[in-house]
């Protein structure tokens, strides 16, 4: 570029800049949130039943993997809560060919990582690697997936460590509050169990872990999502076939049928002598993501207790100063889900705090949400959703949820549109179903000798011990 051009551009630029007059007293007007265009997916199935999803994204020389099985904690035997979690933690701690240290070193050698985690519904192997080392990554992935051996010394080390962690967790009131609200809401369904027990950890051994591995981690029970700077499609598929093709198909048991208790208010007080605080959960059975109530309920929950502008936060924390934390959560599962409003208050204000929670829940039933508030919450949810898609890991996690939960392929692309479509009347309708004080249960963890009589004002109370 020659000098004259530079000067000319400078003049034009100066003119356009000086033309900009703005009104600083108001936030700037902006256009609508842009629609999100999902990168295109290629889907296929191997002969052994393994479903494969490929997504190309060449911006960074990385590849991200999710290998998701329907093998979450809901399948744990009754006397073995924590089995799936233990298998996940130990999956990369040794195979027939490779001891734990060798797996760690070979992964670091290729700039890769592989770890597994178990949730209520799913068991997911997560991985990532520098794209140049993808073939070697699949060697290691195939080895841990097909041949994890759960070595004796690693199992012992895990049991010791997990027992210590559990003891520390059990000293927290929140642990008992979360456990108890799940058990009250989900009743006999295995979703009621969130954590292992010292006894179930003691019972773990190689045989149980190997049998979990052999029966549940099978190709026809899994979806493999590979996302990032992957080689051309045929080459990638050939790589996957060569490593995971020999993996044997096997029938997996069907998932437990939803069998949730009826919605009747229960009030449980978990006694924790000496507590100066009461840790509160007000909870209700909710719905899965494909249910027609899901999006209105998601919006309703966010108005009630999502983020620092929510009604619970503004009322319980900002206005009344009862608590530092006041929020609500919606946790959809493959079947049903859990709604819970959460706060921790000092014993003296337990009654007004519970009343405020009930009032906020009832207000969503009785009054239509004002349009400004509704628009803000819709922006909040849509913005957060789009932001979660910036990284390969963020998009891969969303895709694996869609596959695990059996949601339609359009789920992610239509997400923000479905948020935007929610109407005030729908919010009132779902609030009546899921936020009603008649049917929402209450769990409080605290000193029973101090707070029992207060709690009895809300109905019949069952007192339990923290154990």
């Amino acid at each position: 570029m020659n000098k004259a051009n530079v000067a000319l551009i400078a003049v034009v630029l100066a003119m356009t800049l000086s033309c900009q007059k703005i009104d600083r007293t108001k936030p700037p007007e902006t256009k609508d949130l842009p629609a999100f265009k999902l990168p295109s997916l290629y889907e296929t199935e191997l002969a052994n039943g393994l479903r494969v999803v490929l997504v190309e994204d060449k911006r960074f020389p990385l590849v991200t993997l999710r290998l998701t099985f329907e093998a979450g904690s809901k399948y744990d035997p009754k006397d073995l809560p924590g089995l799936a979690e233990a298998a996940a933690s130990l999956l990369t701690e040794g195979t027939g060919d490779r001891p734990s240290k060798q797996i760690a070193e070979e992964l670091a050698d290729i700039g890769g990582s592989i770890r597994a985690a178990a949730g209520p519904d799913g068991f997911t192997i997560q991985g990532n690697v520098l794209s140049e080392n993808l073939p070697k990554f699949f060697d290691l992935l195939a080895d841990v997936t097909m041949h994890a051996s759960f070595p004796q010394d690693e199992v012992q080390l895990y049991k010791k460590r997990r027992t210590q962690e559990l003891l520390a967790e059990r000293s927290e009131a929140a642990f008992w509050a979360d456990e108890k609200i799940a058990s009250v809401v989900f009743g006999p369904h295995p979703y009621a169990r969130l954590n292992p027990t010292p006894e179930s950890i003691a019972r773990l051994d190689r045989g149980l872990l190997a049998s979990f591995h052999g029966s549940r981690l099978v190709p026809n029970n899994a979806v493999l999502i590979l996302l990032g700077a992957i080689p051309p499609r045929m080459e990638t598929l050939e790589l996957i076939r060569s490593r995971l093709g020999p993996w044997q198909k096997k029938d997996a048991e069907p998932s437990p049928a939803p069998e949730f208790p009826g919605s009747v208010r229960k009030i449980v007080l978990v006694d924790r002598p000496g507590s100066v605080q009461a840790d509160i959960r007000m909870g209700h059975i909710a719905v899965d993501r494909s249910h027609e109530d899901y999006f209105p309920l998601l919006v309703a929950n966010t108005i009630l207790g999502g983020g620092a502008s929510s009604r619970m936060f503004m009322n319980i924390r900002e206005k009344q100063g009862f608590a530092y934390d006041a929020h609500s959560r919606l946790q959809p599962r493959k079947n049903g889900g859990l709604f819970a409003a959460v706060t921790q208050v000092r014993n003296e204000v337990l009654e007004p705090a519970l009343k405020s929670m009930e009032e906020e829940m009832k207000r969503l039933v009785d009054e239509p949400v004002p349009s400004g508030e509704l628009a803000d919450v819709k922006n909040y949810l849509s913005g957060n959703f789009v932001m979660g898609l910036e990284t390969q890991g963020g998009l891969a996690t969303q895709l694996s949820t869609v596959k695990l939960m059996g949601l339609p392929d359009t789920y992610l692309e239509t997400y923000t549109a479905r948020i935007r479509a929610v109407q005030p009347a729908q919010i009132q309708a779902v609030a009546a179903k899921y936020f009603s004080p008649q049917t929402a249960s209450i769990v409080v963890v605290g000193d029973a000798s101090k707070i029992r009589s207060t709690l009895e004002k809300f109905g019949g109370v069952t007192v339990e011990k923290a154990q």
Partner: protein, 437 residues
């Protein structure tokens, strides 16, 4: 195939007439934008009697400005689907909004309004003094290890008051802060010529430049602030102390050694040495101390720990680590275990295979972190503020990958020896006992 070291983050840098530096880093693949502002002031700029001031001031930045009513900053960002935060560091303070990209102007409006016209009032100050005290009670005074690490460790490991005073500050000093102090601090340090603005993500360069000029162009500049003398004495006297912590259930020990100058050859060698010791499951600490000796339960380590990482390390600082340890061991034994790992490097060096592993691990984690617009923005802003060269986001990888095994052995011998070592053993105390001051 593209090698990870070849990654290039495109960016453009220019300076407004008032001296504010601007960096634009477009990537239009996802409709998200980060607005990041970094100011060249941190806790080490504080004066005696005003500890905790930089952090108190950071709180004031969310209390409203001429056109943004009190308490509305959060609401404007949240209701537009974004998130935000600010944080105070030793040598800088930064603020960000991550927004859907159609809301770029909202982020610029908010940041420019508080840079131009922060609401510094008695009411806001009184209110934020309370908020900071509450934060201190919850996040420090009520958390195991926090008081020992934040208040006590700097006193052991530094001698110059600028470096050793508490970053979170004392209640007495917070109380003493006046509106005039706050106004002076604002004028001195929160001037456009002491700031870098970074926009990264879904932006169009021309449009972004116009908006930046519109919102920030006429904020007046101020005289360039002076920087305090941070130098530490040349000779290092080793120290070892025990802190009784009534909130700790499990003992932990802090070990640190004074480190080299930022971006010197020794700096790169120590950063690689840290990855070798503590990076990932194959690291020596994980394999030899957590699994082998089972003396360490959890660990963290870094150049600049606890207030920085090697990315925003600025001398004087330490290569320091924090090891939570198995109570059947004594603190001195755990220190010995860690020192033995350092001695192995000093005596036997590092083989090429392990060095290559460490470099590959480093490359992969660095590239992975660049995926979010916020981490690209903070990296660019910090490189500009510290080094005057945001291009390091693309070129600095080569300096890390050029480190040799000999250099790692040499820095282990030069820096990581007991004669230059500071130790703070944090042990559980009975609940009734007051923390030892």
């Amino acid at each position: 195939m593209l090698a990870a070291s070849d990654i290039q983050i495109p960016f453009e840098k220019y300076t407004l007439k008032n001296g504010m530096r601007v960096i634009l880093a477009p990537d239009n693949s996802v409709p998200v934008v980060t607005v990041y502002v970094i100011y060249g002031v941190g806790a080490r700029s504080e004066e005696k009697g005003r500890t905790g001031f930089a952090h108190l001031f950071e709180h004031m930045m969310f209390q409203g400005s001429a056109n943004v009513p009190k308490g509305q900053h959060f609401k404007f960002v949240e209701s537009n689907g974004g998130n935000l935060n600010g944080s105070t560091h030793s040598d800088f303070t930064d603020y960000f909004q991550v927004l859907p990209s159609n809301k770029l102007a909202v982020g610029l409006w908010l940041e420019s309004d508080r840079m131009r016209s922060l609401a510094i009032t008695e009411e806001n100050l009184a209110n934020q003094k309370e908020a900071v005290k509450q934060e201190r009670r919850l996040s420090f005074d009520n958390q195991p290890y926090a008081t020992a690490i934040v208040d006590h460790w700097p006193q052991i490991s530094f001698q110059n008051w600028q470096n050793s005073h508490s970053l979170i500050g004392s209640f007495e000093d917070l109380e003493a802060a006046t509106v005039a102090d706050v106004a002076r601090f604002f004028k001195t340090y929160y001037a456009p010529n002491n700031a870098v603005l970074v926009l990264s993500g879904d932006i169009k360069s021309g449009e972004a430049k116009k908006l930046v000029e519109t919102y920030f162009g006429d904020i007046p500049s101020q005289p360039q602030p002076k920087h305090p003398d941070l130098s530490e004495p040349e000779t290092v006297k080793p120290r070892s102390e025990v802190y009784k912590d009534p909130l700790a259930q499990v003992p932990g020990v802090v070990i640190g050694f004074p480190g080299p100058a930022r971006r010197s050859p020794d700096f790169y060698a120590l950063a690689m040495l840290d990855v070798l010791l503590t990076g990932g499951d194959s690291s020596r600490f994980q394999q030899n101390l957590v699994k082998g000796k089972q003396s360490v339960i959890q660990y963290e380590a870094n150049l600049g720990w606890p207030f920085a990482s090697f990315r925003d390390y600025k001398e004087p600082g330490h290569y320091a680590m924090f090891l939570l340890y198995n109570p059947v061991f004594k603190g001195a034994e755990v220190v010995q275990h860690a020192q033995q790992e350092l001695e192995k490097i000093q005596n036997q060096g590092v083989d090429e295979r392990e060095l290559n592993r460490v470099k590959t691990y480093f490359r992969a984690s660095t590239v992975a972190q660049l995926q979010s617009s916020l981490s690209r923005a903070s990296r660019l802003g910090q490189y500009e503020l510290f080094d005057g060269d945001p291009g390091l986001i693309n070129t600095e990888m080569a300096s890390f990958l050029a480190v040799t095994a000999d250099q790692i052995q040499a820095v282990a011998r030069k820096y990581l020896v007991p004669e230059r070592r500071f130790v703070l053993d944090i042990v559980p105390a009975p609940k009734t006992e007051k923390p030892k001051k």
